[in-house]
């Protein structure tokens, strides 16, 4: 494309060249970097901070209330697996929310896809790869349909997905049958949420991740330094790399402990669902932040008319957002199926969708479009999962459970809102 631009000489004026941009000449010391981060916070760009604070606060709360159990390895493993379906669903929704659209049907779409999976495995007798691919394909086709109605026909996404929310529930009901359930005993599917990566392989994976992160970070740092572009101080990069290694290896260490409650059996290793979610997180992050498709998503969400005028195919972006969202909903459905080893006619109905949207929003994704990341789904999903996990340990009456869940959600959201607000009005 570079041949398409005016050359520097053509575009240059008679007067003195570039000036300004002093903001881009960053302070390369550690102090400068820290100050830069604080400035960013003060400027209102809180990033992941509120969700992280929420996770920490809730973690402390439940640790205090249930000291023996909340932080036990088995509970942490449970928590991680409990969170996966909601995280994946929320990750898909981030695409839709980024455009300022909503997908009320995402939950029940995950249900339809699970039903497809289950029927192919049980009735059809297909092998698991076929069934999984078919389920994801079903998700993609459903997304294509939703996206076309929104992007091409131009019906507001709220109405389209409300209609489909009802419609797909009917389809699941038809596939599963009234009052029935389809048990899924396929060992590979079951393993996703119920089995663990063997301990040694887990360690190998963890070390690989930590090393890969270190290599990429240091390599980037060197490249930037060589080109004399703005870059962080080496010390900070090293600190980040070490921190990452500690977290990855620490979590691995916890999950590789034997967490079985009875001495007779052994239960150790990273549940398979976790590497899957991490992989999805990396892919989605890459797509959103480093490809032009991702860039266009943000542009359409921020100002669809500006995007259109810039020659972006806005309709295509809209349709694709729904396709991705529904495909990830299918994955979420598969994870949920694995957890229960069955599919019911009301799979994905109820509050599933609201929780997923709540997760994305608490993570920092805006409902008005233009702001959101994959990690929002991860962090917000963890907040939601911790609430359910912790309340499960407390064991309160049903009505209190409702009230407390609502209250905690509200609390988490107000931390966020107040932090942002403070930042916005601060000097």
């Amino acid at each position: 494309m570079s041949s398409n631009t005016l050359t520097a000489a053509e575009a240059s004026g008679p007067q003195k060249p570039a000036a300004g941009f002093e903001g881009d000449r960053q302070d390369n010391t550690v102090g400068g970097a820290v100050r830069g981060y604080l400035d960013k916070l003060r400027g209102g760009d809180l990033g992941a901070l509120p969700a992280v604070l929420g996770i920490i606060t809730l973690g402390i709360l439940f640790t205090v209330l249930r000291p023996g159990t909340f932080l036990s390895p088995i509970n942490l493993a449970n928590l991680a697996v409990q969170a996966t379906p909601i995280i994946v669903l929320a990750m898909g929704l981030v695409f839709v929310l980024l455009l300022g659209e909503i997908d009320l049907s995402a939950g029940v779409v995950s249900g339809v896809c699970s039903a497809v999976l289950a029927q192919l495995l049980v009735q059809g007798g297909f092998s698991w790869p076929v069934a999984v691919l078919a389920a994801i394909a079903a998700g993609a086709v459903i997304g294509l349909f939703t996206g076309s109605l929104v992007g091409m026909v131009g019906i507001p996404s709220f109405v389209v997905t409300l209609a489909l929310f009802l419609g797909w529930q009917g389809v699941t009901l038809r596939l599963i049958g009234q009052g029935g359930t389809v048990p899924v005993r396929e060992p590979v599917i079951r393993a996703l949420a119920n089995e663990n990566v063997p301990v040694t392989i887990g360690w190998v994976l963890a070390v690989l991740v930590a090393v890969a992160y270190a290599v990429i970070e240091l390599w980037r740092w060197r490249a930037k330094k060589a080109k004399d572009l703005a870059h962080q101080p080496l010390l900070l990069v090293v600190v980040r790399v070490v921190l990452m290694a500690v977290v990855v290896l620490g979590v691995t260490a916890i999950l590789n402990q034997d967490r079985a409650l009875s001495a007779a059996i052994e239960l150790a290793g990273i549940p398979y669902a976790i590497p899957l979610v991490i992989l999805l997180l990396l892919v989605v992050t890459f797509v959103l932040s480093r490809t032009s498709f991702g860039r266009h998503m943000y542009a359409v969400g921020g100002n669809a008319e500006a995007a259109r005028r810039a020659g972006i195919n806005v309709t295509r972006i809209r349709v694709l957002a729904f396709v991705i969202s529904s495909s990830l909903a299918a994955v979420s459905g598969i994870l949920a199926t694995s957890r229960l080893s069955s599919v019911t006619p009301d799979a994905g109905a109820g509050n599933t969708l609201l929780y997923a949207v709540g997760a994305a929003v608490i993570g920092g994704t805006s409902l008005f479009g233009g702001r959101g990341r994959a990690r929002d789904a991860l962090l917000g999903g963890l907040v939601i999962a911790i609430i359910a996990n912790g309340l499960g340990l407390l064991g309160v009456a049903a009505y209190l459970n409702f009230v407390i869940t609502g209250g905690v959600l509200l609390l988490a959201a107000s931390v966020d809102a107040l932090a942002r607000r403070r930042a916005a009005t601060a000097r």
Binding site: G20, A306, A307, R309, G370
Partner: protein, 268 residues
């Protein structure tokens, strides 16, 4: 570069880059353009003038494919074309700076400047190359107060936003560059840069349409002037055939001496 001499010839020697014949446009019951004829030549700056609400922006939005014309013919480089979306226009090589700018507020300056035409290495965006190119182009437009090219455009001043929009449009070597009141929000020095830039674009062989309300600018930079009056072209003439007073008369009343619209032109 190719045309270091400024030739303000009175007759059109070249084939026009863009020719509009009888284009009309209504919004609901409101008729905005009534059969507009216009010719835009390569290597020339055409100043498009007209009162507020005369239909200038509507006209160029039609050319840009933002909202297609209702009827009439559009020829680009001698071939009849359909302009149904901004992508059609971009494909032909038409680049526009809109009066209402249309920047994505949630993106930063670099991201906006390369929007829709990102530079890539393989699949991955080449941020560094884009950042450098943006910084260069902006530097040449005398934006001295911009803190960072990684600032969100929502935090820019009016003039800074205007400059970003102009920089975005001139980054591409388009055959036809249309600027809708590009200097409205600009300071003295920046206006100077933009006028120079417009001249240089034309001298490099591009066709340029320049909308402005400032007569000084018109007479400084334009080769031809087209005056729009209530959605009709009152005159489309080389600049040396008219003077300032005449142009103002054409703008405010659609007539000046034997130039302009007659009473029956205005019936329809």
């Amino acid at each position: 570069m190719s045309a270091p001499e400024r030739d303000r010839d009175t007759t059109a020697v070249d084939r026009p880059t863009l020719e509009l014949r009888g284009v009309t446009k209504s919004f609901g019951a409101v008729r905005v353009l009534h059969g507009v004829h216009l010719q835009v030549y390569p290597g020339k700056v055409t100043a498009l003038v007209g009162d507020n609400g005369a239909g200038k922006s509507t006209l160029i939005k039609g050319i840009a494919g933002i909202h297609p014309f209702d009827s009439g013919e559009v020829e680009f480089e001698g071939e009849q074309v359909n302009l149904h979306s901004p992508r059609d226009a971009a494909r032909l090589g038409i680049e526009v700076v809109y009066q209402d700018l249309a920047l994505a507020d949630n993106l930063d300056v670099v991201q906006n400047m390369f929007l829709g035409r990102e530079r890539k290495r393989g699949m991955v965006l080449d941020e560094q190359s884009m950042e450098q190119a943006a910084r260069e182009t902006l530097g040449k437009l005398s934006v001295r107060t911009l803190k960072s090219v990684r600032q969100l455009v929502s935090s820019l001043s009016g003039g800074q936003r205007q400059t970003v929009a102009i920089a975005k449009a001139v980054l591409w070597e388009s055959k036809l560059v249309i600027l809708d009141e590009p200097t409205a929000a600009l300071g003295v020095a920046q206006t100077r840069q933009v006028l120079d830039l417009v001249r240089r674009l034309a001298d490099a062989g591009h066709a340029v349409v320049f909308i402005t309300h400032n007569m000084v600018d018109v007479f400084e930079v334009a080769d031809r002037v087209a005056a729009l009056y209530l959605g009709r072209v009152a005159a489309d003439v080389p600049i040396d055939q008219v003077d300032r007073t005449q142009v103002i008369e054409l703008i405010t009343s659609g007539r000046s001496g034997d130039l302009g619209l007659s009473a029956e032109d205005l019936e329809d």
